[in-house]
């Protein structure tokens, strides 16, 4: 169990009063999660880092608009989601809004030593790449970020039923890719 001397809501209150150091401490607690979420959405490390900086800057500027400091995480990821899709709109030609491939991890760097075999990471990356962007985002928010369905609905601005539908369709696709059914002999 991790005991934190100062909880996030306290840091948020201090940051609202102009305490930049408190906000930097808050960033240090969330930057890895936000960066990895954006990395898995946009598929590029440099873009993910730039977007992460934009996210935290925008969050700082709008911190006073956060009604309930206890809801900081979904609020922050809502900003990250908007930033990611805003960058897609800027980069992509008109009509093409969300990339269907180009998932992060396509270019796994040589200096990263994965805890799992490299083949497994590639298999997961390939399987995630086969999903639609909204399904993939649902998987990222649930499996990797551990959000509840209500929080996901808040981040994605859609009903819980839609979130569940996207996630469960994605799980079915991933299951086919990553855990194919055992072939049964025909007698």
């Amino acid at each position: 169990m991790i005991f934190r001397a100062v909880e996030d809501p306290d840091l948020i209150r201090k940051a609202r009063r102009g305490d930049v150091e408190a906000y930097n401490l808050l960033i240090s607690r969330w930057e890895k999660r936000v960066y990895n979420y954006l990395l898995r959405i946009v598929g590029d490390r440099e873009d993910a880092l730039d977007l992460s900086q934009d996210v935290f800057l925008k969050a700082y500027q709008n911190l006073r608009k956060l009604d309930d400091p206890a809801r900081f995480a979904p609020w922050l990821f809502r900003i990250a989601h908007n930033e990611a899709f805003s960058s897609f709109r800027k980069k992509r030609p008109e009509g093409e809004t969300v990339p269907q491939s180009g998932f992060a991890g396509d270019d796994i760097p040589a200096n990263v030593s994965p805890a799992f075999p490299i083949e497994l990471s590639i298999a997961v990356t390939t399987a995630l790449g086969k999903l639609q962007a909204d399904q993939r985002e649902a998987v990222i928010l649930k499996i990797y970020q551990g959000f509840k369905f209500e929080e996901m609905a808040e981040i994605l601005s859609c009903p819980v039923s839609t979130v569940k539908s996207r996630l469960y369709t994605a799980l079915d696709v991933l299951k086919t890719q990553l855990a194919p059914a055992k072939s049964r002999g025909v007698t």
Partner: protein, 200 residues
């Protein structure tokens, strides 16, 4: 296709209540198809978690620059407007101060009557008198007109009645005259009557 009493994906993602989880556990132990389906979902979930999070290549942070920081006065101002409790307390304090001020420092109402009050009163009385007179005159005129109209109507009505009575009288006189004439004729006839010989 799973025949589990609850969605196995809900089970996998820990979205079921304890009682529901127990039911799924019991079902999976006896159903080979659902057991395999749950195993596949578990493998999928575990495999997905093989993709570990990466470290941020560069720390994100903001530099505290005095140029961009709000001034102490502005911080106090922002903190004041940002706190509804402080704002409420300040409002209550201002209201209390206003009440105290008006209780102790309010000027007594002026007792001395201004010098030109009598003149104003005379003017007002004159205006009121003129207005009353005018109103009375108008009212009298209206009443006189109404009375005259009522009298004329009554007179007309009585005149009509009188005419009708006079006509009735004339009729009666004429009928009386006719009766008188008939009577006279009958009297003459009676006077001249001579009974026949055989009746004598």
């Amino acid at each position: 296709m799973s025949c589990s009493p609850f969605d196995l994906r809900d089970y996998l993602l820990d979205e079921l209540a304890e009682k529901e989880r127990r039911q799924v556990n019991q079902h999976v132990r006896s159903c080979g198809g659902c057991h395999e389906e749950l195993e596949r979902l578990r493998i999928t979930h575990t495999t997905l978690l093989a993709l570990r999070e990466e470290e941020v290549p560069q720390r994100i942070g903001f530099v505290s620059d005095k140029v961009f920081e709000p001034s102490p006065a502005r911080r106090v101002w922002q903190a004041f407007w940002g706190s509804s409790a402080k704002l409420g307390f300040a409002s209550a304090a201002m209201l209390s101060a206003a009440l105290v001020f008006f209780t102790f420092f309010r000027q007594a109402p002026a007792s001395a009557v201004p010098a030109d009050t009598s003149r104003i009163e005379a003017q007002v009385a004159a205006r009121v008198g003129a207005a009353v007179e005018k109103a009375v005159a108008e009212s009298e005129t209206r009443q006189a007109g109404k009375t005259a109209a009522l009298l004329a109507a009554a007179e007309q009505r009585f005149e009509g009645q009188r005419q009708a009575d006079r006509l009735d009288m004339l009729n009666v006189e004429q009928r009386l005259a006719v009766l008188q004439k008939r009577y006279n004729v009958r009297e003459n006839m009676v006077a001249r009557y001579e009974p026949p010989e055989e009746m004598k």
